[in-house]
Amino acid sequence: MPISQSSQLYKQLVQQLPAERLLVSSESLAPYECDGLSAYRQLPLMVVLPVDIEEVQYILKVCFSLDVPVVARGAGTSLSGGALPVETGVVLSLAKFNEILSIDGHNRTARVQPGVRNLAISEAAKPYGLYYAPDPSSQIACSIGGNVAENAGGVHCLKYGLTVHNILELKLLTIEGDLLTIGSQALDSPGYDLLALMTGSEGMLGIITEITVKLLPIPDTARVLLAAFDDIEKAGNAVANIIAAGIIPAGLEMMDNPSICAAEDFIHAGYPTDATAILLCELDGTESDVSSQLITVKQVLEHNGATEIRIAEDEAQRLIFWAGRKSAFPAVGRLAPDYYCMDGTIPRKHLGTVLKRINELSLEHGLKVANVFHAGDGNLHPLILYDANNPGELENAEHFGGKILEHCVEVGGSITGEHGVGVEKIDQMCVQFQTQELEQFHAIKHAFDPAGLLNPGKAVPELHRCAELGAMHVHHGQLPHPELERF
């Protein structure tokens, strides 16, 4: 419900911010009503678009004094509803913080504002022969602030790490308007590792206003192999054996048959549509490193029963091999009116059983599913196909997704590898964590935001919520019924 201009909140904000950067009309709020998880929508009271730290500080102080919730928003590509507005709250957009402040070629770092797009950093670093390694598939659009808040990963994170491994320093404002510098321009700093704590904290502990990222040398060369398999287990073994051979590929991705077919239909990358699974394995580094590893990987793939192995001959072909994988989401998206992207992680050895379980669940729920998999690091993205126009089908898809995540936890994995908990996986948090751990999370939240105003209702469930879910578990032997209101 948009706010009236006579309210205290508006009156105080307009004292320091020009009215054109305070959005209040329903039309201007509409683009902010959801993020990448568009099944959830909510209009906020208002959206504010600050341009500098002082303005952010002022907004936070006003909201704090009036007890108004604040939801930070980068590019709004979150797939877990992390940036979903709160009805009684303000959306604080960092969109105008879009400057690359400096690049230090000698120390191999870049100081950037949070609204800078992920890919823009690598583009700006290119003249120095450097790049920013974490490369989420959304990198053309997503913001580095959002990446820090979600600890985003990408295709190359097996070798180069997640966001947490690739940042040095943050400037962060707490809800009370305290400005903290966390980490440093050096490799360590005294005190607690707040840099790690803030990374992946989903906008719950503070607003990130500046980030210093590490830059890496652009590899001299990158080569990719594509291997086809007639059996998922064989593909899984091939992954384990590449690693057992002492090789950490730059990227190691798997697609199952429905994903292969969807991608092939969409992008015509020449993928073998009769394969049960394909592996894409990228090696990068110096020419000599890559050519020696290429031979080893090829042997491993052969020994593990690959039915076909292709090596991209040049850069153009390498990009084609990748194009299919990179467009897997939109490609699968064409198979049904809607798809729901899951993000569980598992110990890789369980891949076979987990995929089998997903297929069983697919039959039980009557919904198709396609799987893409960051195979190197055990991060599975099942894409559940559904049609939101059919009554109950969204709830069915969510129920199916929840079951997949619970199974990931059962085999020793996690409910989210890179997309975050947000509003989406809040119930599965009750499955992954015990009461004491959840209490500890609340205590951490309390240490930074005692009034609970930053991104309320996200990431960490209230204990009574888990208790209710738990009780229902016992009663019905399953998660609560879809028609029960979840949020």
């Binding site: 005294p190 707040l194 704590l197 020793g412 590898g417």
Partner: protein, 350 residues
């Protein structure tokens, strides 16, 4: 080689009820890095052993009292290692101490620090609750990253029980090259190489010589040697192990500075004896200059200074900014409300 977690948790619960402080101890190899030590001893040494190791998953889970050396030996049987190569000091340093102190070896700038390899932990908080965070998988963003928060917290937030680490293959080949360079030249060269795809894995300068370690495939290391020149140094392993464990002649117990700086920072004009490690990002200094001057010059360059093995513990760590300090105390309260875990290990009040 046993699971002592229930006994340890009981000890913490008792201490919580009686509000009696505890001092968590492994082999004490890093205790010189504590501001001060208080309370009844809580030993993690009985809680030792490898809980799980799956080479092809690249994960090992270890109890806190296990020695670093035995973990590295087990991993080496499968041609893997903890790539941050933590200092062992005394051969018996423990995994718990490694994580609590957050120290990493000479490969740190290129391979990452302890915290970069920690995937999950099981800890006891100050109320005696046993809790698990993170896990045994490479990626996990469910909940706040408590596991990494334990790294470098010196036990002030929790007793570390078990740790899961990402492990990496030991590179096929490793060679050390030596160059006659002055310190500035050494800094310039290493940072230039770091900005190219040279397979660096160590870079230290001492007494007019720059030593660099190259690691990777046989072919890759050979190519790099041909490209960047220098003389091959044969005492490869000894040099790096002594540097890591501070056993070479530079280090003595008379007190020295550790400056953590952006790596390409030019040579600082502070009189004294220097040893540069981490390609310039970690610099050791023996100097009689006034501590204020050393600290100030380091801070101006974006770094911080620690005084190791000194008489005055107030020089051990630089004070935190007052606001940041306040949030540290809030966090301490969140984990250890009765203030019984390793009080004063970091600062006089933390």
């Amino acid at each position: 080689m046993s699971d002592d977690s229930q006994q340890l948790a009981q000890q913490v619960r008792d201490a919580f009820e009686k509000k009696t402080p505890l001092s968590i101890q492994g082999t004490q190899s890093r205790s010189f890095l504590r501001y001060s030590e208080h309370g009844n001893k809580l030993s993690t040494l009985e809680h030792s052993g490898i809980v799980a190791y799956e080479p092809t998953e690249l994960v090992i889970t270890v109890r806190a009292g296990t020695s670093i050396a035995s973990v590295q030996d087990t991993l080496a049987e499968h041609k893997q290692s903890l790539a941050f190569d933590p200092p062992r000091f005394a051969q018996s340093g423990t995994i718990g101490g490694t994580v609590a102190s957050g120290l990493s070896g000479p490969s740190r700038p290129w391979m990452g620090a302890v915290r970069d390899h920690v995937l999950g932990t099981r800890i006891i908080n100050g109320k005696g609750d046993i809790m698990s965070f993170g896990g045994q998988v490479m990626k996990n963003v469910a909940g706040y990253d408590v596991s990494r928060l334990m790294c470098g917290a010196f036990g002030t937030l929790g007793v570390i029980l078990d740790v899961s680490f990402k492990v990496l293959p030991i590179p096929e080949s490793s060679s050390t090259l030596v160059f006659e360079y002055d310190a500035q030249n050494a800094i310039d060269h290493v940072n230039e190489w770091s900005a190219q795809t040279v397979p660096l894995n160590g870079a230290c300068w001492s007494a007019g010589k720059l030593y660099i370690r190259l690691s990777g495939t046989d072919a890759g290391v050979k190519t790099a040697i041909n490209t960047i020149g220098g003389d091959v140094y044969t005492d490869n392993d000894l040099l790096w192990d002594e540097l890591r464990d501070q056993k070479n002649s530079f280090f003595n117990n008379a007190g020295y500075w550790r400056l953590s700086l952006p790596p390409a920072t030019p040579v600082l004009s502070i009189e004294g004896e220097w040893l540069l490690d981490w390609g310039g990002a970690q610099r050791w200094l023996k100097s009689s200059e006034h501590p204020d001057k050393i600290r100030q010059m380091t801070v101006e360059r974006g770094g911080h200074a620690e005084h190791w093995h000194g008489k005055d513990k107030n020089l051990l760590r630089m004070p935190l900014d007052s606001i940041v300090h306040r949030y540290h105390k809030n966090l301490k309260d969140a984990f250890d409300p009765a203030h019984i875990l390793n009080n004063h290990a970091l600062y006089s009040d933390l």
